[in-house]
Symmetry: C4
Subunit: 209 residues, 4 copies
């Protein structure tokens, strides 16, 4: 079917995409806490010890929360410049959301096995692979959009598009690097997981434009 009979349909499309996306981002970010179980105390164990023992859960919660938060910021900025969504944008966005809403699972896996010397590598690979899978449709979506100028708001300058590309491309590269680096030392990847969203939240990387 042609879009010719409804010239405003495309803009409505991005509104819909953004509404569903906002819902999924907000829910995924809030569900993270469900994976942290209240500890059952063994005889003679104090609550303080038991709660301190859960530090990998808090770490995973904070890192996944900030990562989804940064992705949400980038997603909104990206869609500020996108005036129309074609079918490819819709499908890539759905794949992106499928990875975002999956994050509570690898977060729980990382938290459960972070202290386990035998399984740490596996848990880090699962976590890193999910984030890489999430960065991929995000990056491809942006590359698709800048190659199809009719999708872009006409008021957006090409300097701004370039600036976005420079901002988005390192994400997928850095998350991809956490996978081989984990074989060298899983802790390097773990530090990277935490550093990437913190880096994007530094004042240098003002995300409000």
């Amino acid at each position: 079917m042609s879009h010719l009979d409804d010239p405003t349909a495309h803009h409505a499309d991005t509104q819909r995409l953004e509404a569903l996306s906002d819902g999924v981002f907000a829910i995924a970010i809030t569900l993270l806490v469900i994976e942290i179980g209240v500890p059952h105390l063994d005889a003679g164990q104090g609550l303080g010890d038991a709660l301190r023992h859960l530090w990998p859960s808090y770490f995973g919660y904070a890192v996944s929360f900030l990562t989804i938060g940064v992705l949400w910021l980038n997603h909104h900025q990206m869609f500020k410049d996108i005036a129309r969504a074609d079918h490819m944008v819709t499908v890539l966005n759905l794949l992106l959301l499928m990875c975002v809403s999956f994050i509570p699972f690898p977060t729980a896996v990382l938290a459960d096995f972070l202290r386990d010397d035998d399984q740490r590598l596996g848990a880090v690979l699962v976590y890193g692979a999910t984030f890489t899978s999430m960065a991929l449709p995000f990056t491809v979506l942006w590359l698709w959009v800048i190659r199809h100028p009719r999708l872009i708001d006409e008021h957006v300058s090409s300097a701004r598009l370039r600036s976005r590309t420079i901002r988005y491309l390192p994400g997928v590269v850095m998350y991809g690097l956490t996978l081989p680096l984990a074989y060298l030392n899983p802790w390097v990847s773990i530090v990277l997981f935490a550093a990437i969203p913190v880096f994007y939240l530094l004042p240098l990387n003002d995300a409000s434009a």
Copy 2:
């Protein structure tokens, strides 16, 4: 009570329906991950093996996610053309949402029993019956709307309505077919569950109009 005292009430009705529906779609799609439990390792078992063993959970997650995603796309397109919601539309939409938000349960049933030769048929029937129950109010809602032209936006061409009907009708038929086909071979139905949303997401089936 008559609507005569508030000519804009009807349009507000579809906005309300769409807001609640968007919320339910976004939450149901994001809750799917909760049903995937982090594995507890047996002695000598590796995390990789344990995670690979969960493949039916990932499969169910992806299929249910894409199915709800496609239904959400179709729901939004449908309501683009619906200008007014009468009581029947409200009730049918509520029944539709009741099936959508139920999906995490049959998804978990399918994931838990997909590998069990004795229970696979039962799990597939539960999954297929839920999807058929979901497609039914969706289809009846559309048939009701096109038989009550006052509910339809006046700018929508009858060619567009026909195109929607052609797009929506196969869904309920295909999901209905997964039930008898499961008695022949449950795997045929399982392949269909995955193929139906992928088919709707192919570029041929541009859903953006």
Copy 3:
């Protein structure tokens, strides 16, 4: 602080109330399914039997879903006529939402003990008490509003207000009645729980105005 410096603040208040309320309604309605656990099969037990055994969970899911759905419909209609929210409206609405988001718990209690002859009465009382507690702030909110005409949209006729009162008052009475009736026979209350939302969804009770 006076509202005089911002004449539009009140209307913004109901928008905010409605946005949070819609979110809570949509999430509470979608969380109901989480309380239905996938059955673990005993040796020799079939999946079909195990799933049929869960019928109280499906019953509770459907009744609670439809009840929240009907309440959501009524809530939206009510707020169509409310132009301004004072502090009392805000607080009563918060109490209403506190009961709505509690519903998954008594639903799970009812499902778990519906078949237990010794505990059925207790489970029904918990379920009925929650719904009565929910109907109370809803009804008080409406009575407060119609006694403070400055809160009401000026275009709303007094006939319409009367019609709303006639529609809303029976709810709290009927839910209150499920409590003494449960002592006669819990099944009578159980039938009422299901009948009340179905009654509101009948075409006679067109809720779209």
Copy 4:
């Protein structure tokens, strides 16, 4: 990148912040109920006794619900006066949401250990520390905004800003006080947790302006 090419971008920023925030508030408030497990009856135990035994869970549910509700009210009022969000506002708001969506966990800890004389202090400290951590970015965000007048809506009087500051500052102080007070007597802090949101909801503290 400069904002000069899009003078409306800033206002869009607060809309985005508010939409994500509303989602997180609504979801966190509704997830609280998931932490209340349906009791399993021991032989000879009645359902009534078992449910009464869960009173710390109901208490925690109500207190956390009202606290998040009051915070949501304050958050909305605050953002009524904020016309533009800079990077600091975005980051502080994200930290605030990270604490809000964490609340279901300390709520469950408090409920599980409230009756345990040995662990009560620890549970109260965890609960109070979470609320203090939540009040901190909220308060810093407001102090940041009033020191950067370009972020404030030009129609807001300085009397109104002062009134907000007087309203917001006691929160972080009172929550901070629950920590040392718990060492004197945990029950004092528990009473404070309940009293603070109830105080904000009293008619004296009309939050609608």
